[in-house]
């Protein structure tokens, strides 16, 4: 899952970015409100972690403009403003959750996962389709109950496909999920990772729709 982090404090921003990366998220970090808006316009992030006291454009303004455009992506406010009035203002402006600084990184990651789950219409932590189960918290993948070892990128790719069963994801969309800004994207990386996943999960686990992209197999891995 790819997140956008808008935080002006370099120390806090670097800390959150590093912590969330360790939890398996791809994190892009911007330091002011305008940069956040430009990044949101790219439409590649699944969730926005928003600090309120941003220079150039206030966090709440960014949030209101986002909701005004009909952008329904989950937004988690992370701020030092802790009064009830501030929380109410943040939630009323369209935020989905509100975390007050200082906070536990594990809690932040859990809240982000919960928001992502809810935005995908799921209530279960574990993503499951057919015989494949994927746990975003423990980073475990099982096929018919048997654990399968996946690399971080393979895991992220499978998570993206499982998150929207039935949807076809293009190469560009998948690349966006796998790589943050400034990360080198190898030309056939997606194919390489798909190939590896098919080898580990079964050939039918991922279907290719020629010229369009990839989707999770209809009854993936249900071999008799």
């Amino acid at each position: 899952m790819r997140l956008l982090l808008a935080e002006d404090d370099p120390m806090i921003g670097a800390g959150i970015q590093r912590g969330l990366k360790q939890d398996g998220f791809v994190v892009d970090w911007v330091q002011d409100g305008r940069a956040a808006e430009h990044a949101l316009a790219e439409n590649v992030h699944d969730l926005l972690v928003l600090d309120l006291g941003l220079p150039r454009r206030e966090g709440l303004d960014v949030l209101r403009a986002m909701r005004g455009r009909g952008d329904a992506r989950p937004v988690l406010i992370v701020t030092a403003r802790d009064t009830v009035a501030d929380r109410v203002a943040g939630l009323d402006a369209g935020a989905d959750d509100y975390v007050v600084k200082p906070f536990e990184l594990t809690e932040l990651a859990a809240r982000i996962r919960a928001l992502l789950r809810r935005s995908a219409g799921r209530t279960q932590r574990v993503l499951a389709h057919g015989d494949i189960e994927l746990d975003p918290v423990t980073h475990e993948t099982r096929v018919r109950g048997e654990p399968v070892a996946l690399s971080a990128r393979e895991f992220a790719l499978l998570e993206a496909l499982l998150a929207r069963p039935g949807a076809i994801l293009s190469r560009a969309q998948l690349e966006d999920r796998l790589y943050g800004w400034g990360e080198e994207v190898e030309s056939n990386a997606v194919e390489v990772h798909i190939h590896a996943l098919r080898r580990k999960l079964g050939a039918d686990a991922i279907r290719n729709v020629r010229g369009v992209g990839w989707m999770i197999g209809k009854v993936a891995g249900t071999q008799r």
């Binding site: 404090d9 800390g15 220079p55």
Partner: protein, 458 residues
């Protein structure tokens, strides 16, 4: 018992004393006047009586029965001095041959004596003066008795009148009692007597100033708490990352970040303390002559290693000026904090390879301190706001941790204490931008040791 002063009691006492004095004066005046009038009347009566006696046979009681007539003594002598008649046996009344009035002192008090010579006889009529005095005293008494009777009622009236007049003060006291540091509403001024209004008006002025000062304090504390949260969040995050670190390299990196975060939090707390110390009215140190040039050299020396670590060329320019060192009257600790903040700011915001020049000059009786750098500078539109505490120019970051946002607020506060003027302008052109030049002009008043009159902050 500790007697407290009471306006009411004092007024009643003074008014009562005045009233009594007035009554006494009235009594004396009445007495004197009545006595004078009684003298005239009784003297006339004596002459009339003497005249009526000149031709009557000397038997029986003398005629006339006016008041005090019973006390009248009549004596008649013939030409040879033989007493022919004595109305009452009285001792000590001398024989008077001289016609006319006389007042005679006898064993039985003073007597008024009238003698007349007619038809070969000397008629002498005498009356004790006490009669007249008693009459006058009676008159005086009749005058003051009603006044004395009314006096207690007057005192009571005054007592209640004052209570009524002072009731607005009690209302003001209740209203003041209702005020608290959280609710410093002005006191109602309507319906107050003119004597009390200036007091209430002054109180309202004080309340308004207190409210503003408290509001500023509250805002400062809220700001400070908010600002402290950022470095603490950074430290907390780094501590968590250090705990999670899978290997020694990661852990060392996280711990280095943690240390940087702690330094930042410490710096912020120190800056907050400096600002609090420079708060007007707090710990004001007396002014003394301060060698600004020497102070600048000292501060540069302190920050030289930090500048070197950031590869910033920090130095002093024009310090060998023939005019000599600039001496100002001021607070050495405050001026040092100001210089330190200015130079530290310049070093902090100047990119590596840049330059920071410090100049101290004397100019037309002022000491002029200049700190110029090759950093990004401050856009003209931001130049007033940068003196607000916790305001940081957007888009201009420091190489390391963000600043406290208090540096220029501290500089401004100290400059105000010294009646100095701060100007922001371009600095030294360099790779980072137009640079920033801060000029502080401190008046060098001749009167050392005395602080110039401070402007009252509105």
């Amino acid at each position: 018992m500790n007697r407290t002063r009471s306006i009411r009691r004092e007024l009643v006492l003074w008014l009562s004393a005045g009233l009594l004095a007035a009554i006494a004066v009235a009594a004396v005046a009445t007495y004197v006047r009545a006595r004078d009038e009684a003298n005239d009347i009784f003297d006339y009566q004596l002459t009339q009586m003497a005249a009526s006696l000149t031709g009557v046979p000397l038997t029986g009681a003398p005629p006339g029965s006016t008041s005090g007539a019973e006390a009248i003594v009549v004596q008649v002598w013939d030409r040879d001095g033989i007493r022919l008649y004595l109305s009452q046996p009285r001792q000590g009344l001398p024989r008077h041959t001289q016609p006319g009035f006389d007042t005679v002192a006898t064993d039985a008090g003073e007597w008024r004596v009238f003698s007349t010579l007619a038809a070969g006889r000397i008629v002498q009529v005498a009356q004790p003066m006490s009669v007249r005095r008693e009459l006058a005293a009676g008159m005086a008494l009749r005058t003051i008795v009603p006044l004395l009777a009314v006096a207690p009622f007057l005192a009571v009236l005054v007592w209640f009148g004052i209570a009524r007049g002072l009731r607005p003060l009690e209302r003001v006291a209740v209203a003041v009692g209702e005020r608290s540091p959280h609710a410093l509403l002005p006191l109602p001024e309507a319906g107050l007597p003119t004597e009390v209004r200036p007091l209430v008006h002054a109180l309202n002025g004080l309340l308004a100033r207190l409210d503003r000062a408290l509001g500023a304090q509250r805002a400062f504390i809220a700001d400070a708490a908010h600002e402290l949260r950022s470095p603490l969040t950074a430290v907390y995050l780094q501590a968590q990352l250090a705990e999670r670190a899978g290997n020694d390299v990661e852990r060392a990196g996280a711990l280095a970040e943690l240390r940087a975060g702690l330094e930042r939090a410490t710096h912020l707390v120190e800056q907050l303390l400096t600002l609090a110390r420079e708060e007007p009215g707090v710990n004001e140190r007396p002014f003394a002559p301060v060698n600004l040039t020497e102070l600048a050299r000292h501060v540069i020396g302190e920050l030289a290693s930090i500048a070197a670590a950031r590869r910033v060329d920090l130095g002093m320019v024009g310090s060998e000026a023939p005019a000599g060192d600039a001496i100002v009257s001021g607070d050495a600790a405050g001026l040092r904090a100001m210089l330190s903040n200015l130079v530290d700011n310049a070093v902090r915001y100047t990119p590596a390879g840049g330059r920071v020049d410090v100049t101290v000059q004397r100019d037309r009786g002022d000491a002029v301190l200049q700190v110029r750098d090759t950093g990004p500078g401050i856009p003209a539109s931001e130049r007033t706001r940068v003196f607000d505490r916790f305001y940081r120019v957007p888009g201009i970051g420091t190489a390391g941790a963000p600043g406290s946002g208090l540096g220029l607020a501290i500089v401004k506060r100290i400059a105000e204490r010294h009646d100095a003027v701060i100007a922001l302008g371009p600095g030294l052109p360099g790779a980072g931008g137009e640079g920033l030049g801060v000029t502080v002009r401190i008046p060098t008043t001749q009167a050392t040791g005395t602080e110039p009159e401070r402007r009252i902050a509105d």
